[in-house]
Amino acid sequence: MTDFLLATAGVILFTVAVGLVRILGGPGDADRMMAAQLIGTGGIASLLLIAAATGARGVEDVALGLALLAAFASAAFVNSAAPAEDPDAADGR
């Protein structure tokens, strides 16, 4: 069972790594954010699987922290993409 958990963690990690090709290729920043989102979810899944297999303590909290912050990159992307189009924002008022 341990080997199965580790193997699935590896397969998921490999799968999301293929998703990295999207980051490399683009074509746009939105695709890059999507790939980052997928890797975030896959990373959390393999984190939980690895923890279950190796018996590291307290890993649920790490997964909880990652899950809480999963949307932050996308939020920062949208938030800072918006004012660039707004000419009023440039001079601070």
Binding site: L13, L24, A36, I50, D61, V62, L66, L68, L69, V78
Partner: protein
């Protein structure tokens, strides 16, 4: 080769590949997204090293808060990239640099391979004295008890960084709020996310701080998660960034180091040594210090990300 080894090797290749992408990518934004992914993979590596406290810090600060900082900066710097940048070094200089960097990496790799299996370690001592601190998590004990002076100075570094960031403000903005005033309506989705996430996140942050006495977690990790929650609320424009001349803000920023230092001086007077905690009272004192540290961290990190004041102070 066991499955675990295969997984380790795969993870190692993946993380080096992502790191190489953040260095060699053409666009700054693409590189920054790569760095956020890299932070996530790095916390996986720390889990593999059984350093769960570090993994938690890396997840909260390395990947989460740094991600907001860098992605925000990359988006604002768009258009600031200049065309001739790729040719700033000649081919020969590039090769020479690469060669020297490979040499440095190889030397370090050699050191890693030559490390003795049983190096000198303070682990036994730290475990022997753990009972006296009343804590169950040795990492927290090192941070707040055995090496408390380091941790106190680190808090001072954070305050100095805030002072440095604020000092970049134009004179007329001194004391004002950071960030642009935005005319547009807040994104409704972002507001929804912030409204749902913030209460849960505050709960998780306090939980991680509280269990940090005995389990992986602690003031830094809990404080960083609380900080992230304040950031998302500000990003969604549910609340304005505070004026940097607000008394409560400045008080909270310095509360952590001040309480820490006071406890250290009190130790010198009452317990016979700078940063000594009187026996029997160690755990309450440590938790007291940590509470103020959590507050300070939760306020310091968002202020660092928000940047210098960019609005004139309201009177």
């Amino acid at each position: 080769m066991s499955v675990l080894q295969a997984l380790d090797i795969g993870l190692a290749f993946l993380i080096v590949a992502v790191a190489a992408w953040t260095i060699f990518a053409r666009g700054a934004f693409a590189a920054t997204v790569g760095y956020v992914v890299y932070g996530l993979l790095l916390s996986l590596v720390w889990i593999r090293l059984f350093a769960v406290d570090v993994a938690l810090t890396e997840a909260a600060i390395g990947s989460g808060v740094t991600g907001i900082l860098l992605i925000g900066a990359a988006a604002r710097l768009r258009g600031g990239e200049t065309a001739g940048d790729e040719k700033s070094l000649s081919g020969a200089a590039r090769l020479l640099t690469a060669g020297l960097c490979i040499l440095v990496a190889l030397a370090l790799a050699g050191v890693v391979l030559l490390l003795p299996d049983q190096g000198p370690s303070l682990a036994p001592q730290s475990m022997q004295n753990l009972a006296e601190t009343g804590l169950g998590n040795p990492v927290t004990a090192v941070l707040i008890a055995y090496r408390s002076f380091d941790t106190m100075l680190e808090k001072v570094v954070l305050v100095l960084a805030v002072v440095g960031v604020w000092s970049l403000a134009a004179d007329r903005y001194w004391g004002g709020a950071p960030g642009e005033a935005r005319a547009e309506r807040p994104e409704p989705t972002l507001a929804f996310l912030a409204q749902v996430l913030a209460p849960i996140g505050i709960l998780v942050g306090v939980h991680i701080f509280w269990v940090g006495a005995d389990e992986p977690g602690g003031a830094f990790q809990g404080g960083a998660i609380l900080a992230a929650m304040w950031m998302i609320v500000m990003m969604a424009r549910l609340t304005e960034a505070p004026q940097t001349n607000a008394f409560w803000l400045r008080l909270t920023l310095v509360a952590g180091p001040v309480v820490f230092l006071t406890a250290g001086v009190a130790g010198a007077i009452f317990a016979g040594g700078f940063f000594a905690y009187p026996p029997g009272f160690a755990k309450p004192i440590i938790l007291f210090i940590e509470t103020f540290m959590v507050l300070s961290i939760a306020v310091t990190l968002p202020m660092l990300v928000a940047g210098p004041p960019r609005r004139e102070p309201r009177q």
